[in-house]
Amino acid sequence: MEEPRIGVYVCWCGTNISKMVDVEAVTNEVKALPNVTIAKNYKYMCSDPGQDLIIKDIKLHNLNRVVVAACSPRIHELTFRTACEKAGINPYLFEMANVREQDSWVHTDRTEATNKAIDLVVAAIRRVRYHEPLQKRFVNVNPATLIIGGGISGLTAALEIANAGKQVYLVEKSDQLGGQVKKFDLTFPHLSSAQQMIRPIVQRVDNHPNISVFLETEIREVTGYIGNFKTAISVNGGDPVELEFGNIIAAVGLKPFNPEVISEYNYKEFPDVITSFEFEEKLLAGRILTVYGKEPRNVAIIHCVGSRNKKYHEYCSRVCCMAALKYVHQVRAALPSANIFEIYADMRAYGKGHEEFYALTTHRQIMFLMYDQQKKLPVINQADRSDNCNMIIEMDELLSGQSIEVPVDMVILMVNMEAQENVKQVVRAIGVSLCGNQFFIEKHPKLDPVATTTGGVYIIGTCQGPKDIPDSVAQARAAAARILGAIAQGSVPIEVTTASVNELLCCGCQTCIGVCPYKAISYDENNKVSIVNEILCKGCGTCGSACPAGAIISKHFTDLQILSEIEGVMSMS
């Protein structure tokens, strides 16, 4: 290894760092350390002049390592790696010390914060000495895409990709395309027909030359990696068909919450207590009738059924408030003289045109009644003969502070959206993770909401979290754009900080094979050693810590690098 020549740069970040950390003192403290060729500080290292400073120094002083003490590496590591690359040194010969998020912003004693900054910079200097150049790697992308789920999200993504001339395999577990939208009569807030919207989409997908549809089919196992996946599906119980594709979109949708578990609502007990999905069936059939074949004189719509309640689901399903208001318009149109009660916990009208829709609904002669979901749910009871109605809802009305009884003949429960039952099977097959609510976890909640941490696997629609049709469609088109981008490039970069095996040290115990979550390690029978498939490896490093022989190298997180960092943070005390 050539002698390290390290350039150290301490960022002021305006006053963000310099106010709490004495950047001059940090610079002076590390200047004379072994292998430090040059140490400087500057107002904004991430700015163009800041980066130019590094680039010029690399060339002028023949630097072969760079340390920047600034914000979190999660923010600007890539910026400085790119600067290193521009100056002709490998981007991995760089290390960052986090002296803003984890120092100047969280401490109040300038001396303590400065001492901490010194420790962190020393650690980065010690670590970077052992950094090794890593080469970017690419794999080719198979231009076909697998889409799991034939609802509005899956269909939209399929058309987007197929219209660009690329092959799509669309797999749907039920016997028809169209998903939940196909079960709806109207959509909110424009009260336009869901059927007129979804049917032509299904037709276009069915007739598209670039889309192969597989109904009543489930994906059990997917092998391979970004750009090169494989699965075997059996169609109509026949011989398995092998499919090969470069990218995957999961669009497995949602399941309505079953309100049977909420005893207050007596859902199974009373046949005229129905879910919003069952009410859509009545609307599609064109008649709103009770189980007795009569038009209800009193209709109640209860919000947040199974939502925003720790006993069931803590999260908000986002669409039910507007769907409930949609029903007000539909009931009012069908039953001009009926009493309509909106029994809500909170009214959420956050979307485009939603608040206006809410305002419009208040002119439809309905009664809004509020309940406190955290204290007491409304209770649906059987009415007495003399009550002249089918059921009575007992509730504590929050705004008036009164305990009231509401006469009803039909109750619509606005049920929560929950994850599909087979979601775990899908998750296992495509190698992604679920959050606590069983929704798929996106790569970044704000900046990368349709990608996952598994390369080439995207998540769209309600399997990522409750959402309405426009949001589902937007995600579908976003994922399609990402995939078409990768296909257009022809190849995609893959993780370089992977594991590798030093075959001279490997004793062939295969411990690493058992701990790898990605099946990236296999056993070479001829040489009696483990080998890492560096395309499958995601670089978690768990094999490295399990290897009893110390034969596995976790690139960029080697034992030597981490141990040097530990020595570094402790060296000044």
Partner: protein, 144 residues
């Protein structure tokens, strides 16, 4: 001089390190005696790293990963937990008190919890006094 306990912390990149960053962006203040080392996954943590930190004079070592079920690499945190339990038995036999070595789950949204954790651990270590690992190693070294 007053005793200032030094904590070496190993934080996984995806949850705990991000949570610690969030404490920063939220300007939640905590004790300045912690030194954070970033690793990709808590599953990468080797006993050697922890022992090295004690050997170098750390008064406490903190390991933080994603909450169970939330691991970015599916199950690295469970592997970390298993190894940790085993290691803790060993470190206690070495005379390192249990509270000097902690494993906690911190999600990317738990900046506040991270700050509270650091303060809590600092408080415990203050009451315990300095770790004797480093000095005892130095004595043994002299005897050789």
């Amino acid at each position: 001089m007053d005793f200032r306990p030094k904590i070496v912390a190993f934080l996984c990149n995806w949850c705990a390190y991000t949570g610690a960053d969030l404490a920063g962006t939220s300007r939640i203040h905590y004790a300045p005696n912690i030194r954070i080392i970033r690793i990709m996954c808590s599953g990468r943590i080797e006993p050697t790293f922890i022992l090295k930190a004690f050997q170098q004079g750390a008064d406490g070592v903190l390991v933080c990963g994603c909450h169970p079920g939330d691991c970015h690499y599916q199950e690295g945190n469970y592997k970390c937990l298993r190894r940790f339990k085993l290691l803790q038995k060993f470190t206690r036999q070495m005379g390192i008190e249990k509270d000097r070595l902690r494993l906690e789950w911190i999600s990317a949204s738990e900046g506040k919890q991270f700050a509270e954790l650091v303060n809590d651990m600092t408080k415990t270590l203050l009451s315990m006094g300095p770790s004797k690992v480093k000095s005892s190693l130095e004595v043994e070294h002299l005897n050789v």
